[in-house]
């Protein structure tokens, strides 16, 4: 089957899947998984692989389809009374997505109508506006104590240390390489070249996500191994001081680092 539509036209894997179902004139409830999977893979192969981020989302969906396909090919487990149709979950997701696409069309119409009314800027006479009551801080802060404020800040600090990994936790086993180790290695070295001696803790604190913290950690290990940095720690759990001892930034790639 030839593919005429550009992949970029699709918002995401569900969008593409809906399109394929539509094109094959089949109903969502009765997706011919094998056929659709083949067409889906064809699309992915034709994908411009520059955008890895987007590609990975499509691949997760392709894997889901293949998973369903393989489950359907396996003989039924006789010991179980009722086995759920492996397509069930996918159908539910698709229906939900389709529903929201439909709703967004409704909203679009509503917006068109609502855009036809005009509002007026406030015209409170100047002399009155001068009276405008200030916000009463005391009543605003009535329920707030320093201890509470402190607790809130602590939870903010905590949150930074254990940010959960977005998206991935929802998608089975296929994980995306979200952070590029090579780039991280370069940036740590660039930072090291500039600062010579720096705090390991500080370095981790500047990482916005847990994944970045992990990759940074791996990066430091790798740089130690190849002798670009030296680390020292005086006591257990003390901060670790990293000293950059390399002359220049070493060119590295993932394969080296992941060994």
């Amino acid at each position: 089957m030839s593919i005429s539509i550009k992949l970029e036209a699709f918002e995401g894997p569900l969008d593409l899947l809906l399109h394929l179902i539509d094109k094959n004139k089949v109903n969502i409830y009765d997706i011919p998984i094998v056929e659709i999977t083949n067409q889906y893979m064809e699309y992915i192969n034709s994908m411009d692989d520059k955008d890895l981020d987007m590609m990975s989302e499509f691949l997760v969906m392709a894997a889901t389809l293949l998973n369903i396909k393989s489950k359907m090919l396996l003989p039924k487990d006789e010991t179980k009374d009722e086995e759920e149709d492996p397509r069930q979950e996918l159908v539910e997701r698709l229906l939900e997505y389709k529903m929201f696409k439909y709703i967004s069309e409704e909203l679009k119409d509503k917006e068109l109508d609502a855009a036809k009314v005009f509002f007026k800027e406030p015209t409170i006479p100047e002399e009155i506006e001068g009276y405008k009551e200030e916000v009463d801080i005391d009543s605003l802060l009535a329920d707030l104590t320093l201890a509470k404020l402190h607790k809130i800040f602590e939870s903010v600090v905590k949150k930074q240390t254990d940010k959960i990994d977005p998206i991935r936790s929802k998608f089975g086993k296929i994980e995306r390489e979200e952070i590029n180790l090579t780039a991280k290695l370069m940036s740590i070295q660039a930072y090291g070249l500039q600062h010579k001696k720096f705090s390991f803790r500080k370095l981790l604190e500047t990482q916005p996500t847990k994944m970045e913290v992990i990759v940074t950690f791996l990066g430091v290990l790798e740089l130690m191994k190849i002798g670009q940095v030296m680390i020292e720690q005086n006591n257990l759990f003390d901060d670790i001081t990293i000293t950059f001892i390399g002359e220049t930034i070493a060119e590295l790639d993932d394969s080296v680092a992941l060994e």
Partner: protein, 189 residues
């Protein structure tokens, strides 16, 4: 105060303030309780509707605002230049409808429904003030939860979230029937 006078006062207040005014504030200003005030204003809304007026009062989640009637649009654009508001792409609309119907909702949950990363879309909606942070979820990582704003209600002509368009149940039924028929057909062949 007799009722006509109260209505006149409310008209003057809504005209002057321009923005949406909480019913509690109006009630305090006219010296009636909130329920009576709501009833008076709703009655005024009917009057504005039935009489051929150019302006109307709309309700937004417990607040009231004065604006022109939609059929005045053509005449008004003739007289003044109306700055173009942001255009909502399909992606934004889709994300917005998920937030509207599923709120309060986290970015992760939005992404689970859409199947794609939605940071950009959510940020844009926040920037357009159609969506805002409403707090943090009590879950690992304490993710931010999002909800729609008053501006959302205004931009879509919706009184309150109860007023969101519902999916026609017949439509859903149609889908199901079609499916069953098709399955049947396949079996027959």
């Amino acid at each position: 105060m007799e009722i006509k006078k109260v209505e006149a006062t409310i008209e003057a207040i809504l005209f002057t303030m321009g923005e949406a005014v909480d019913v509690e504030r109006i009630a305090a200003a006219i010296g009636h309780d909130v329920e009576t005030t709501s009833n008076i204003i709703r009655n005024m809304m009917d009057q504005y509707d039935s009489e051929e007026r150019g302006i109307q009062i709309i309700e937004l989640d417990g607040a009231f605002q004065m604006c022109t009637k939609p059929d005045m649009y053509e005449s008004i654009v003739k007289i003044t230049h109306i700055p173009k508001k942001h255009v909502l792409t399909d992606v934004l609309l889709e994300t917005l409808s998920i937030i509207a119907y599923k709120q309060p909702i986290t970015k992760l949950e939005i992404e689970a429904i859409r199947g794609v990363k939605s940071d950009h879309a959510v940020n844009k909606l926040v920037e357009y003030n159609l969506v805002c942070e409403v707090g943090r979820m009590d879950a690992p990582g304490r993710p931010i939860i999002f909800g729609t704003t008053e501006e959302f209600l205004r931009s879509f002509g919706i009184q309150s979230l109860q007023d969101l368009p519902v999916i026609n149940p017949e439509k859903v039924e149609d889908f199901k029937l079609e499916a069953e028929e098709e399955v049947q057909l396949k079996l027959d062949i």
